[in-house]
């Protein structure tokens, strides 16, 4: 059932190409249907597939000579991320409702990307996973170059180069593992059973982990993220921050850490260190930005630092926090980009925080202000929203091994509150210098925008108030035979 998330998205992408370019309305509706169908399949999958064991969906030979199989499967971790992708896809379509120019192509590329993302989260053959991974990255480039804004060629190229650089590292590491293990299989589960020597694991882990972590915004390889986010059209930045960054984090966990458990044990201090630099540096950089979208872009770097720190804890609770943070950040960053990119930028065509003042946005767009307030509160990690439970678990896991780094990460949270308040204040609540008459009239927030915002807010609040919804998926998966060796005894 859940494999249909991939098929329907890819079929949708193909079908959308046949929608005439002159009918953007039809393209949008089709896109919404496809996204909703994907979300329904994802939810059905979540209810049907047991979280605690790896359940095969399809496992057929593909290139038997090389041991490549078409192997789709899912466990609780995959399910959480598939669910995130479903939610983000629906919200992204709703926030791309105003795309008029070449809407059919936009949504075709959009669903190629979504299909690739679903594919990565469900693939358990490394070759297949890599194919989907590349499939997700290529449409990204075109989405930014064609429909993007500020410095889009630069942003798109930088993103593509970083991504491909990362992929190259991953590919080298994977092929090395394939060869060393006897060149018989690319199957993740089988390769994970192969006893790679500790020395090999240390080296191969570094290649694969860093290769993936580039896409997760690991400092100092994060610089593509803010520029890419800023250049991308809203729907695409939502996907970029919402799910594409998760591809990197997921790959780091599912491939690098699962295949080479000894590797992370060798490098965990360094990785934790870089993660915390990312948390603090991202937050400080966000505090210093004048461009509203850059604020959110750097905040993504900071929040993804928590994912990486959670991975480096090598404890069940820290890993659980990392996975939950992937979900949480996906939803919250999507929402923040929606407010900044769609609700504000598409109306006032400005992102400079200092120049938003005359618009009196809290009065002109109260819905946008309220959404940003709630999303900002979620982003600060206030309890009641999903981010709190995620960051709490990461901190709980990190404390025993890295108390100093944990305290620094806490300082990052305080700076997080500061930059969120600063942005809120400058963008929405700057004192009224102009009279109401001089205030430019703005179109009101449309229904698709309201629906999209409500979808994402519901997701972060539901998980924040009832964390068991996702913890019951994540924790059994981490205790499964595939994932248990990753963390068990790792934090000694």
């Amino acid at each position: 059932m859940i494999a249909w998330t991939i098929y329907i998205s890819l079929a949708g992408a193909a079908g959308l190409l046949f929608v005439p370019a002159a009918k953007p309305c039809l393209a949008r509706r089709t896109a919404l249907l496809v996204a909703l169908a994907g979300l329904v399949f994802a939810i059905v999958g979540v209810t049907m597939i047991p979280a605690g064991q790896l359940t095969d969906i399809v496992n057929a030979p593909w290139v038997p000579q090389l041991g490549i199989r078409f192997h789709l499967a899912a466990d609780g971790i995959s399910l959480v991320l598939v669910l995130l992708t479903g939610i983000a896809a629906v919200a992204g379509v709703l926030f791309s409702w105003n795309i008029e120019e070449r809407a059919n192509e936009f949504f075709a590329l959009y669903f190629a990307l979504i299909g690739g993302v679903y594919g990565v989260f469900l693939s358990f053959d490394l070759f297949l996973l890599f194919v989907f991974y590349e499939l997700a990255i290529i449409p990204k480039y075109f989405l930014i170059v064609i429909w993007g804004s500020t410095r889009r060629e630069y942003g798109a190229m930088k993103l593509a180069l970083y991504s491909f650089g990362g992929s190259a590292l991953v590919l080298i590491g994977l092929i090395a593992a394939y060869v060393v293990a006897g060149a018989k299989t690319f199957d993740l589960v089988e390769l994970a059973r192969h006893p790679f020597s500790p020395g090999f694991q240390t080296g191969a882990f570094l290649l694969v982990f860093v290769g993936f972590a580039v896409l997760a915004g690991l400092w100092p390889f994060h610089t593509w993220a803010p520029t890419g986010h800023v250049a991308a059209p809203t729907g695409a930045s939502m996907l970029l921050a919402g799910v594409v960054m998760k591809l990197g984090a997921y790959g780091a966990l599912r491939v690098a850490m699962t295949l080479f458990p000894a590797g992370l044990r060798a490098w965990r201090t360094e990785i934790a260190f870089l993660a915390v630099i990312g948390i603090v540096y991202g937050a400080l950089a966000a505090l210093a930005q004048r461009d509203f979208k850059f604020v959110i872009g750097y905040s993504s770097v900071s929040h993804m630092g928590f994912v990486l720190l959670g991975l480096a804890t090598l404890r069940q609770i820290g890993l659980s926090g990392a996975v939950l943070q992937m979900f949480s950040h996906g939803v919250i960053a999507g929402l923040l980009f929606a407010v900044v990119g769609r609700m504000i930028y598409d109306r006032v065509h400005l992102r400079d925080l200092e120049r938003l003042r005359p618009f009196q946005l809290n009065k002109a767009l109260p819905f946008a202000a309220a959404t940003f307030l709630l999303a900002g509160a979620a982003s600060m990690g206030l309890p009641g929203f999903s981010g709190f439970i995620a960051e709490l678990q990461v901190l709980l896991g990190a404390w025993q091994s890295f108390p100093t780094l944990t305290i620094l990460a806490g300082a990052g949270i305080v700076v997080g509150a500061a930059y969120t308040l600063r942005a809120l204040d400058k963008a929405f609540y700057a004192p009224d210098t102009a009279g109401p008459a001089e205030r430019p009239a703005l179109p009101p927030i449309s229904l698709p925008e309201r629906l999209g915002a409500l979808t994402l807010l519901t997701a972060t609040l539901a998980v924040g108030l009832f964390p068991n919804i996702l913890l019951n998926l994540i924790q059994p998966a981490l205790a499964s035979p595939l994932m248990r060796p990753v963390w068990e005894g790792g934090a000694m």
């Binding site: 609770i317 305080v414 308040l421 068991n468």
Partner: protein, 502 residues
């Protein structure tokens, strides 16, 4: 336990109410105000009912509600009140309607204003009743957001700076506390306050205990506030609109002191003993410097703000002297109980008197067209005798005149302190003198002397204002004359905090 879920209702009613008042249209400002008041009085009735059913002879938690929330992380939905919790619930339930009644003038955007007020009330109740750290922390933070916006949107000219400073200071304290509890969870495997206290008392934290203690301490010290973490307070209180200042000082400032009693004393008795001298030093500095600062201000609101810091300093003095010895003689045990009882009474009484003071200052500001400068007034007693009489009673209650509510608390604190830490009590008594001086200065400057020509037509209290202030003034007298109403409530809790194993 299958009983009436009082405590859940107590947090839920204002929470739902806060959402409900957003419903009417923009033009129904009066309806919204009426709804908010109705909800606030409903909550007050609930709190009153709670205190009727409360068993004053027991010292444990009552009305306990527990449910699994996220068991894998040790998070429970866990509510309960003892005497201290009930006292704070009553205080919040009283202060909120008082604050809502404080201004009948229409505010801008009334729906949001009243909604935030009710959310703030829910945050207060949750903080004073939750017994699991995560559950408690959620409400602790929940109260922060409405307070931030109430200052930021409806405050005075420097509201933005004040609100941001308030928020960032408190968040820094909160995060320090969060990390300390992360460490505590790692050591004890629990987020339950009582369980952490039991496990930590056997000294399993080792050398980590001190930094962990300091983390939690920072969170509460900022909130209370204790010198030198107080700098956010005068700005926040002075910029906030009257009703909000009343809640900030009346109820929210108690969150910090409550934390000292509920969290720090039970979990870290050893650390507090070891650091007693510096802690007492901080409490005394808080008392003396804030009194001196109040003395040198001209802005009435800032004077009351500093006096608020000053009075909470007495609470902390009471708490800090009570941790003095590991082995207690019978005599010192009595003194400690007295000091803790005094601290809790002082929390309640300060909540009442300080919010009343802000109320009166707000009325002065309203009548004078926005001015709060001490030197701007004089002789008002002739123009507005009732106003000055009632405000005078409040001021005297605030400086601890016998027969009024403030006296008993301060008396008990000093009774304990003089026996347990004479040096600290002596210096703090100097603060008492300063407190009296600056409070009397207000009376003298504002009420006495020649009445300036422009204030001849100064209106006295309207009937509505008399009705608003009347019950509070009555309470000040009742608690001053019959303090057993409160001591009976808090004494078992004080004993349970001091000797948890009995």
């Amino acid at each position: 336990m299958n009983q009436f879920p009082f405590l859940t209702l107590l947090t839920l009613v204002p929470l739902v109410g806060g959402a409900l008042v957003l419903a009417p249209g923009r033009e129904h400002g009066k309806t919204v105000r009426f709804m908010a008041l109705a909800i606030a009085f409903l909550v007050l009735a609930l709190a009153a009912a709670l205190s009727l059913f409360f068993d004053r002879t027991q010292n444990g938690m009552q009305f306990v509600e527990r449910a699994a929330w996220a068991p894998s992380l040790g998070i429970q939905y866990h509510l309960g009140v003892d005497g201290l919790g009930l006292l704070m619930v009553l205080l919040s339930a009283l202060v909120i309607p008082f604050a809502l009644l404080s201004s009948s003038a229409p505010v801008a955007n009334p729906r949001l204003y009243y909604s935030l007020f009710l959310f703030l009330e829910a945050g207060l109740f949750g903080t004073f009743t939750a017994q699991n750290f995560v559950h408690w922390f959620a409400f602790w933070e929940l109260s922060l957001i409405p307070a931030f916006f109430l200052i930021k949107i409806w405050g005075g000219p420097r509201r933005t700076a004040a609100a941001v400073q308030f928020f960032v200071y408190t968040t820094a304290g909160s995060v320090a506390m969060l990390i300390a509890f992360v460490a505590l969870y790692n050591a004890t495997g629990s987020f339950e306050f009582s369980q952490i206290a039991e496990t930590v008392r056997d000294g399993r934290l080792g050398r980590a205990a001190l930094p962990i203690f300091l983390g939690v301490f920072l969170g509460f010290a900022v909130k209370t506030p204790l010198l030198p973490f107080h700098t956010w307070l005068p700005d926040a209180y002075a910029e906030a609109p009257t009703g909000v200042s009343m809640v900030l000082t009346g109820a929210m400032s108690k969150m910090g002191v409550y934390g000292f009693l509920r969290v720090l004393l039970p979990i870290f008795p050893e650390q507090m003993r070891a650091l007693q001298t510096p802690l007492l030093g901080l409490a005394i500095a808080t008392i003396v410097f804030s009194a001196a600062a109040a003395f040198s201000q001209n802005d009435l609101k800032r004077i009351v703000a500093y006096s608020s810091i000053n009075h909470l300093g007495y609470c902390l003095l009471g708490i800090f002297v009570a941790v003095q010895w590991a082995e207690d003689s019978a005599a010192s045990a009595n003194e400690k109980a007295a000091a803790l009882n005094g601290a809790m009474l002082q929390m309640f009484n300060h909540g009442i008197t300080a919010s009343a003071l802000f109320y009166f200052v707000g009325l002065i500001e309203q009548r004078s067209g926005g001015s709060r400068d001490l030197h701007y007034f004089g002789g008002l007693r002739k123009a507005a005798p009732v106003f000055c009489g009632l405000m005078g009673i409040t001021v005297f209650a605030s400086l601890g005149l016998p027969g009024l509510s403030g006296f008993v608390g301060e008396f008990l604190i000093f009774k304990g302190a003089f026996a347990l830490a004479p040096w600290a009590a002596s210096v703090a008594a100097l603060g008492l003198l300063l407190t009296a001086i600056f409070l009397l200065t207000i009376l003298q400057r504002v009420f006495s002397g020649p009445l300036p020509e422009n204030w001849r037509a100064w209106p006295d209290l309207t009937n509505a204002q008399r009705l608003t202030a009347g019950p509070i003034i009555a309470l000040i007298f009742i608690l001053g004359i019959y303090p057993r109403l409160l001591t009976d409530l808090v004494n078992p809790t004080a004993l349970a905090i001091l000797w948890p194993n009995l």
